[in-house]
């Protein structure tokens, strides 16, 4: 069973999954970086992104990849509004208030979606959904390749924006030292709204890409949410490049662990890694993160 061929194909599949994991965790990382807020409503926006893509598909036969791009603007707006109307009001109180607020928002989004679309499994079947390519003797699902490529492209673009534009630099400066950023005249309030918008836009974007791979319901997003937490914690929270590393670590661990244990324990790996990473990796990649006392 453990031939080299098999192991390599597991590794390839894991790397393709890592692309997906990275793109769905990036929004979380940006919002965390700027505001030190864990956006638990991320799952809601992922799900909403998936359902909007379904709507575009039903109305205009729009491909999910195009749907992902189309999602960016409205989701940016939604994130901006969520920040302005809700988050801003509590962000200066204890951090747990923000967490609970966003949790409440998730409950609301999820149940509104339930009221609109019902709890049936929805799915988008495109012409290439079941196609796969054979490269070097390995069969690669076309949808996974597309998701990986699009994710890679989006993340590169994002890196470029963050690295080479004024807004991007201001955003990174705020991540590194908000006080100093304020001193040099960066409007951190605007940057926060921007980051929340950007993070939400990425969630909507990732939600669209997920429809290429999975069927979904309004409950969709919960398990991915916890995986995203694991990824950003593994990646070192404030380190944007770390997200990619975290995604790869999680995807590889998951894929290989299933070879040695019951598949029904699969999610324990992500949850276990989350707890362990939080506890034993306070430094590690995450030097910046002073979350424990000693």
């Amino acid at each position: 069973m453990f031939t080299t061929q098999n192991l390599v194909s597991v590794a390839i599949a894991a790397l393709l999954t890592a692309g997906l994991y990275a793109v769905m965790s990036y929004g979380l990382a940006i919002i965390y970086g700027v505001m030190k807020v864990i956006n638990v409503s991320n799952a809601g926006f992922l799900m909403l992104g998936a359902f909007m893509t379904l709507m575009y598909f039903q109305w205009w036969h729009l491909d999910p990849v195009a749907g992902a791009v189309l999602n960016l603007l409205p989701f940016f707006g939604a994130g901006w509004l969520v920040y302005k109307l809700l988050v801003r009001r509590v962000v200066s109180a204890r951090p747990i208030a923000t967490l609970l607020l966003l949790f409440a928002l998730w409950l609301v989004i999820q149940n509104v979606a339930l009221a609109i679309w019902g709890s049936d499994d929805q799915s988008i079947i495109t012409a290439y959904t079941y196609k796969s390519l054979i490269v070097g003797g390995f069969r690669l699902p076309l949808t996974r390749l597309i998701v990986f490529a699009v994710a890679l492209l989006a993340l590169s673009l994002l890196h470029f924006v963050l690295g080479h534009t004024y807004v991007g630099k201001a955003l990174r400066a705020t991540v590194q030292d908000p006080q100093a950023a304020l001193l040099v005249g960066i409007d951190t309030e605007r940057i926060s709204a921007l980051a929340f918008g950007l993070g939400t836009a990425l969630s909507g974007f990732a939600g669209s890409l997920l429809t290429l791979l999975f069927s979904f319901t309004p409950d969709f997003g919960g398990p991915f949410q916890l995986k995203s937490f694991t990824i950003i914690v593994l990646g070192g929270l404030e380190n944007f490049a770390g997200v990619t590393v975290g995604a790869a670590v999680l995807a590889l661990t998951e894929s290989f662990a299933v070879l040695f244990m019951r598949a029904s324990l699969q999610n324990v790996i992500a949850y276990g890694l989350l707890v362990v990473a939080l506890i034993v990796m306070p430094g590690g990649v995450a030097q910046l993160w002073a979350r424990t006392r000693s």
Partner: protein, 345 residues
């Protein structure tokens, strides 16, 4: 303060006696007994959760793990021939032991990181239990003896659970231990420098509340006569406790009592009339509470009283929320310009 405390205790005793008299006053009403049993169990757990979540400020999303462990302990011992009543404290002990095991490392995390870690622990426990077929019956669940005590018996046991939780919480609230918890919630470093043994206190609060919730799990298992990992370790259960404490008033003794009653009545009503909307209502309620009344119902009650007093007695009240969330920044708008990062340290 002392007289008001005594008054509060007298009131608690009166409410307790009144509730204890209900089965005698209205005999044979099973609906009422069921309602009472479930509400009291929620009260007991909400109040217990609040010892760590409210007093110490460590919001846990993983209490289902304690509930589930208590439930399974009772179930297994009951099947082994024990009398259920004896198993409740043991269930509590098992839950307490587990809370120490989990709490020792995770309580070093602050605020949201602790919360996120507890989600991981809770969900991992559920899946683990689903796979431990030999012990838990795995996904088959465990089928418990069908010979059970009467509903009235359960009513009293649940009432005793609630009363115990209340008594423990009320005692902690006024003790040095409780003061220590408040201190470490307000400022961990400052509390430490003043000599509060924060690590010990946090873990103690965790253990006490876990034990209470574990015992409730045992009562629930006997009441339901069936335990299943998805049922007793469910994430929904963990969320319920957070909601109860928040609705009622984080960090107060009476808050979760009110919260549990409201939570259960809302759930009971909505589930039968508008099942789809019941989580939506909680979500909206939670939004409103966090945005406008972080003190929950207890805070609101305090504010209303303060306003009435202010209107009748002239000078405005200096202490609007009795013992609610004084440390919550009352007005976010004023300092919204702050990027707000210091609080993570």
């Amino acid at each position: 303060m002392r007289s008001s405390l005594r008054l509060e205790l007298v009131a608690a005793l009166a409410v307790g006696l009144l509730l204890a008299a209900v089965p005698m006053l209205i005999p044979g009403n099973i609906t009422l007994l069921n309602l009472g049993i479930l509400t009291f169990l929620y009260v007991a757990q909400g109040v217990a959760w609040n010892i760590l979540g409210g007093f110490a400020g460590y919001v846990s999303f993983g209490y289902a793990a304690f509930f589930g462990l208590g439930a399974y302990t009772t179930a297994l011992l009951w099947l082994a021939g024990w009398s259920p009543v004896l198993t409740y404290p043991i269930g509590g002990l098992v839950a307490a032991a587990f809370s120490l095991l989990v709490g020792a490392p995770t309580l070093r995390l602050v605020g949201p990181y602790f919360s996120i870690a507890t989600i991981g622990v809770g969900e991992a426990m559920r899946i683990l239990m689903l796979n431990l077929d030999k012990i838990t019956g795995g996904a088959s669940g465990l089928n418990l003896p069908t010979v059970v005590p009467s509903k009235t018996w359960f009513y009293f046991v649940a009432l005793i659970c609630a009363a115990t939780s209340y008594a423990v919480a009320a005692w902690i609230r006024t003790s040095r231990f409780g003061l220590g918890l408040t201190a470490l919630r307000l400022d961990l470093e400052a509390a430490e420098s003043l000599g509060v043994r924060t690590t010990l206190f946090k873990n103690l609060a965790h253990i006490v509340s876990a034990a209470l919730v574990g015992a409730c799990g045992g009562v629930y298992a006997t009441y339901l006569q069936y335990v299943h990992p998805d049922t007793v370790f469910s994430f929904t259960l963990s969320i319920s406790l957070v909601l109860i404490a928040l609705i009622g008033g984080l960090g107060t003794v009476w808050g979760p009592v009110l919260g549990a009653v409201v939570f259960f009545v809302v759930q009971d009503y909505l589930q039968t009339s508008y099942p789809t909307f019941h989580l939506l209502v909680y979500g909206l309620l939670l939004l409103v509470i966090i945005l406008f009344e972080p003190g929950g119902m207890a805070g609101l009650a305090g504010r209303l009283v303060a306003r009435r007093r202010g209107a009748s007695a002239g000078p405005p009240a200096a202490d609007p929320a009795p013992h609610a969330e004084h440390e919550r920044a009352p007005m976010p708008r004023a300092d919204a310009e702050r990027p707000g990062t210091e609080r993570t340290t």
